[in-house]
């Protein structure tokens, strides 16, 4: 049976893993290569490295960090941040990434999704969407870019559909409303997007407990869920999380 994936996310700034609350307040959490390995060993199904400042500072992804992190990582590895062209993507793949996550650049030039897919396959292209809706309905959630700094006027569900039609392999949906609050995912928004597309949807933003993951896999219809701070500070490990999810009836890969 296809299991629900738990994805460990490393937000990187200046070569170090950091974690923000609602995208700002930053705390240092360690070396990316070391943390990537530790997550995989602890049972994370995938590892994502996001260079969170790359876009707004206008510099490329930290290829050296990617290379070091990928060297001994034998689970799928996604890299995002600062990938603006098919050449940027190629450099990230050559450094050892299996998938790239694109966000602002895909909004600016949606053809980029298909261009990367043409060379590396649709499965290698994740379109990341930063969403904010406040008190509005999920259908009215708006897409933000540049690390959550700029509103675009695009509706999240519509953009997810377009990304799929342009050849995205997966959608990584982050709720800016719930991000870093550890108060649960935005299940309504996740379900709205998951039902609008055929491709897998990864939920992000708000993980605080195993119950939150069970909710987003159930009510939120997410195929995978991503979390960062819940793991970094030793609050829980993927292994503990998965045991709790299995007990709650969620199908997960239990590491041996």
């Amino acid at each position: 049976m296809l299991t629900k994936r738990i994805i460990a996310c490393l937000d990187v700034r200046g070569g170090r893993v950091v974690k923000g609350v609602q995208f700002v307040d930053i705390v240092d959490a360690g070396d990316p290569a070391e943390l990537a390995r530790r997550h995989a060993a602890a049972g994370a199904d995938e590892v994502v490295l996001l260079d969170i400042t790359a876009t707004h500072e206008g510099r490329g992804t930290l290829l050296e960090t990617v290379r070091r992190a990928a060297a001994k990582l034998f689970v799928p590895f996604t890299v995002g941040g600062g990938v603006r062209t098919a050449d940027d993507a190629a450099a990230v793949f050559n450094a050892g990434a299996d998938k790239v996550s694109i966000n602002s650049a895909a909004i600016a030039r949606p053809q980029l999704i298909g261009e990367i897919g043409a060379n590396f396959g649709a499965q290698a292209v994740i379109v990341a969407i930063d969403a904010r809706r406040g008190a509005k309905l999920p259908e009215d959630a708006e897409v933000y870019v540049s690390g959550g700094r700029e509103p675009t006027g695009l509706r999240v569900v519509e953009w997810a559909r377009e990304a799929e039609s342009r050849g995205a392999g997966e959608i990584l949906l982050t709720s800016m409303d719930t991000d870093g609050m550890r108060d649960g995912f935005d299940c309504e928004l996740t379900a709205a997007v998951s039902q609008a597309v055929q491709i897998p949807v990864i939920a992000s933003g708000g993980a605080g407990s195993a119950a939150h993951f069970a909710e987003v896999f159930g009510r939120g219809k997410a195929d995978a869920a991503l979390a960062a701070s819940i793991f970094h500070f030793g609050a829980t490990s993927s292994r503990e999380l998965k045991v709790q999810l299995a007990l709650a009836g969620v199908s997960v890969r239990l590491p041996c």
């Binding site: 049976m1 034998f74 793949f93 299996d98 060379n119 499965q123 997966e170 055929q198 590491p255």
Partner: protein, 208 residues
């Protein structure tokens, strides 16, 4: 010598990286050759065909004369491992690319996952960790891999279950997760991305 065929498949780097990890830097430098040359393939005792992406990409194998080289090497007893599209290429072809022929070592065509299965919408691609079932006890490639072990998949087309199927996975029905007949082997999952289970499969292949 292990020939890893370079036909611009997306996971080439990861496959070589996993082989390097298992063999060590020194043996990798000596024994692993990333190649597009039919001559190199003819001289190899192990051949790895990686692959992720479109079946159409395998057309390059025919264009470069690599299909003939692989056929000859297999007939002479070289060990062959196809990964993902590399497994699919062992069949007759795929509905993903009508004019492109597979090697035809196994009968049948690869087909897209159904849109509906048992009246329920089936998401496609099939992405994530799924279990290996009905592992054939005599499989050398899957030696030491327990029934129900999880491995990582990412694909929209799948190969049918045939006599050579060494393990199945269920998603919209059963498909071939691994095939094996004598020296010809293939896996639909990505051993280079399947943590300890995947490394075990690759090690088994290296130790044949």
């Amino acid at each position: 010598m292990i020939a890893v065929i370079d036909y611009k498949a997306g996971n080439l780097t990861s496959v070589v990286k996993a082989l390097r990890y298992l063999l060590g830097e020194e043996r990798t430098a000596r024994e692993v050759v990333v190649t597009q040359s039919p001559e190199v393939v003819r001289g190899a005792d192990r051949i790895v065909l990686p692959g992720v992406g479109h079946f159409q990409a395998t057309q390059l194998l025919e264009n470069l004369g690599l299909d003939e080289a692989v056929r000859e090497s297999i007939a002479k007893g070289a060990w062959f491992l196809g990964i993902c599209v590399g497994l699919q290429w062992l069949f007759e072809g795929s509905t993903e690319a009508d004019g492109t022929k597979g090697l035809g070592a196994f009968a049948g065509m690869c087909e897209h996952f159904p849109v509906l299965y048992m009246d329920v919408e089936l998401k496609s691609p099939h992405v994530g960790w799924n279990s290996l079932e009905q592992i054939r006890p005599d499989s050398r490639l899957l030696r030491g891999v327990a029934d129900g072990s999880f491995v990582y998949f990412t694909h929209s087309w799948r190969a049918p279950v045939v006599n050579a199927t060494a393990a199945v996975t269920n998603y919209g029905g059963a498909f071939s997760a691994a095939v094996e007949r004598e020296n010809v082997m293939g896996v639909q999952f990505h051993p280079e991305k399947s943590a300890d289970v995947g490394l075990r499969v690759l090690r088994n292949f290296l130790e044949l």
